[in-house]
């Protein structure tokens, strides 16, 4: 039934190689608004290369990328952000010495009104207040946003980083291992934010090694192996065992 709608995001025949290493071959898939897609695969399967292609860190050698039906080419990660794609990289999404508010608005600072704003002066107070309010909307409670990120716990940091992605994304958010290094309870909070993002109509690309988390929160799972998509099915068709077998290739070997 979702296939009736237009995909919010689509990859067609994306290939990418680093020297003699073929990182991605002919990767194609469509993604829809309000859909949570799990992207899984072993180390070196091409997950990172794929994320970097989508977010504009580098370009594919060949293939096409569509956002909301329009073909796009990224010159920098900034381009993909402008087009409504937010990416949360593994462990490195925030500037730890800056306040929560400054991090939420990093690269999109609110300027002061009038001449000061024209001179580049930022409205710190408004940013702190708005950051706190917006984070609360997606179910994230953090202490006063005047705190720097170094003063937060690991779970809170991750929540702020995801919150930031959810706030700014218009179409897609890409989450690279968001539950890594987190305790069980903190991981569940992160998964809740993913569900909030889905309810807001965002498409979520969820990359994780923690298969139970993937099975819990996604609608569909794409399995990558050696740079190719080996399976793309609704989450209900997988179990932890079958998923693991597809990732390692053992499932096919047994056939």
């Amino acid at each position: 039934m979702t296939t009736e709608k237009n995909p919010v995001f689509e990859l067609r025949n994306i290939s990418k190689s680093y020297g003699s290493v073929q990182a991605l071959s002919d990767v194609s898939f469509k993604a829809y608004a309000g859909e949570v897609i799990g992207l899984v695969g072993d180390n070196g399967a091409g997950k990172s290369s794929l994320i970097k292609t989508i977010s504009g860190v580098h370009n594919a050698d060949s293939g096409q990328l569509f956002v909301d039906g329009i073909e796009r080419h990224w010159k920098s990660p900034h381009d993909s952000m402008e087009a409504g794609i937010e990416t949360l990289y593994q462990d490195s999404g925030l500037a730890p010495d800056l306040t929560i508010g400054s991090n939420i608005f990093l690269g999109r600072e609110k300027k002061r009104k009038g001449i000061l704003g024209k001179l580049g002066f930022v409205d710190q107070k408004a940013m702190e207040q708005e950051a706190l309010a917006e984070l609360q909307k997606v179910g994230i409670t953090v202490p006063a946003s005047k705190r720097t990120v170094t003063q937060l716990s690991g779970g809170q940091r991750q929540a702020v980083a995801i919150g930031r992605a959810v706030l700014w994304a218009k179409h897609v958010i890409i989450l690279d291992e968001p539950t890594n290094h987190l305790g069980a309870r903190q991981s569940q909070e992160v998964l809740k934010v993913i569900e909030a993002a889905k309810e807001q109509g965002l498409c979520v690309l969820f990359i994780s090694h923690t298969l139970p988390h993937v099975l819990q929160v996604t609608d569909r799972i794409i399995v990558l192996r050696l740079g190719r998509i080996v399976r793309d099915s609704p989450t209900s068709e997988y179990t932890v065992e079958s998923l693991l077998g597809t990732i390692t290739g053992l499932a096919e070997a047994q056939k």
Partner: protein, 341 residues
């Protein structure tokens, strides 16, 4: 009645912890500690030698402070962006020499004093900006680490200054400049006022504008900054150019004070500038720093160096005392309960 009593001690306890956390914040506030240190130092020197408290000496202090201030401001930007600029000291010498020759050339062509000094200032700023651009190129294009890149320009700048000055001579003498350096408002010379204004403006920019915000973001986590769409290379390049220009202006400051350019002016001063920034509470890893701390750091260094002369300690001890202050400030940072990780 008895059910309400337990809340009172609890309330008291939170008030107490509020007061104690306020106290802890104050003690962990580097600027507050620096202010106390500065006051203690001035009291100490004035008590040992009452001449230290004269307006004339304060004038000297301000002037000496201003010789260091712009370099420390430059270093605050560079260090909080995660880099280091070792070349500012020799850029002072090199640009001072270029400024001196410019002044000499236009004096020989009978330009008036103001015009001559303005063109000299422009020459100094351009020379500094050029050195800064070389640093920016080496760091963002050749991808040398800032320490090595600016070590290259430190050596070449000092070397070029010697070559241009034909050895140890003073060049481009202008007695009019010395006269101008003494003019001003009370104990503030005009050149010092200019330096103070630049310092204030750049302090405001660092802590209140988007440019300053990017500076800290890049120093804190350059990957996150890039992911947030910040043009990290362009920003880093601009910071080194700014640093060079500020060093160039300091070259002109010393030229006006001394009335001539010498190849030894400012040599080694980068270490005092970095010391001021570290004493001021900045992290050499980047991301953390305050202009007010840097200014206090520079003031403390100036007071110590000048004060030691007043209490008849041989100037040869300067560096040892400065070193002690750096060690103290760095230790203080490790005690600060700032990071949880």
């Amino acid at each position: 009645m008895s059910t309400t009593t337990p809340t009172e001690p609890a309330l008291e306890a939170t008030q107490q912890s509020k007061a104690s956390s306020w106290l802890r914040n104050l003690v962990s506030n580097q600027q507050f500690i620096l202010l106390i240190v500065l006051a203690l130092l001035i009291t100490f020197f004035a008590e040992r030698n009452s001449l230290f408290f004269r307006t004339q000496e304060f004038g000297n202090l301000i002037s000496d402070f201003c010789g260091l201030a712009l370099l420390a401001v430059a270093e605050t930007y560079v260090i909080s962006s995660g880099g280091i600029d070792l070349s500012v000291g020799s850029t002072v010498a090199f640009s001072g020499i270029c400024g001196a020759y410019t002044v000499q050339y236009f004096m020989e062509h009978h330009m008036n004093q103001t015009g001559v000094l303005l063109l000299g200032t422009l020459a100094c700023a351009l020379t500094g900006g050029f050195v800064g651009s070389v640093n920016a190129f080496l760091i963002t294009k050749v991808k040398l680490v800032p320490f090595v890149a600016t070590l290259v320009t430190l050596s070449s700048g000092a070397g070029l200054a010697l070559v241009f000055a034909k050895g140890g001579q003073e060049v481009g003498l202008d007695p009019g400049a010395v006269t101008f350096s003494a003019e001003g408002l009370g104990m503030f010379a005009w050149i010092s006022i200019i330096v103070i204004v630049i310092t204030l403006v750049l302090g405001l920019v660092l802590h209140n504008t988007r440019y300053g915000r990017y500076n800290f973001a890049i120093g804190s986590n350059d990957f996150a900054a890039r992911a947030a769409g910040i043009n990290v290379k362009r920003h880093v390049a601009s910071v080194y150019v700014l640093s060079g220009v500020l060093a160039g202006l300091t070259g002109m400051f010393f030229y006006i004070k001394g009335g001539g350019g010498a190849a030894t002016t400012g040599i080694g001063e980068e270490l005092n500038a970095i010391a001021a920034v570290v004493i001021g509470g900045a992290s050499l890893q980047g991301g953390v720093g305050r202009m007010s701390g840097t200014v206090l750091g520079a003031m403390i260094l100036t007071v110590v160096v000048d004060g030691l002369i007043f209490i008849n300690v041989a100037p040869t001890w300067n560096q040892v005392v400065v070193a002690a202050f750096i060690a103290l400030a760095a230790t203080l940072q490790t005690i600060r309960p700032q990071s949880r990780s």
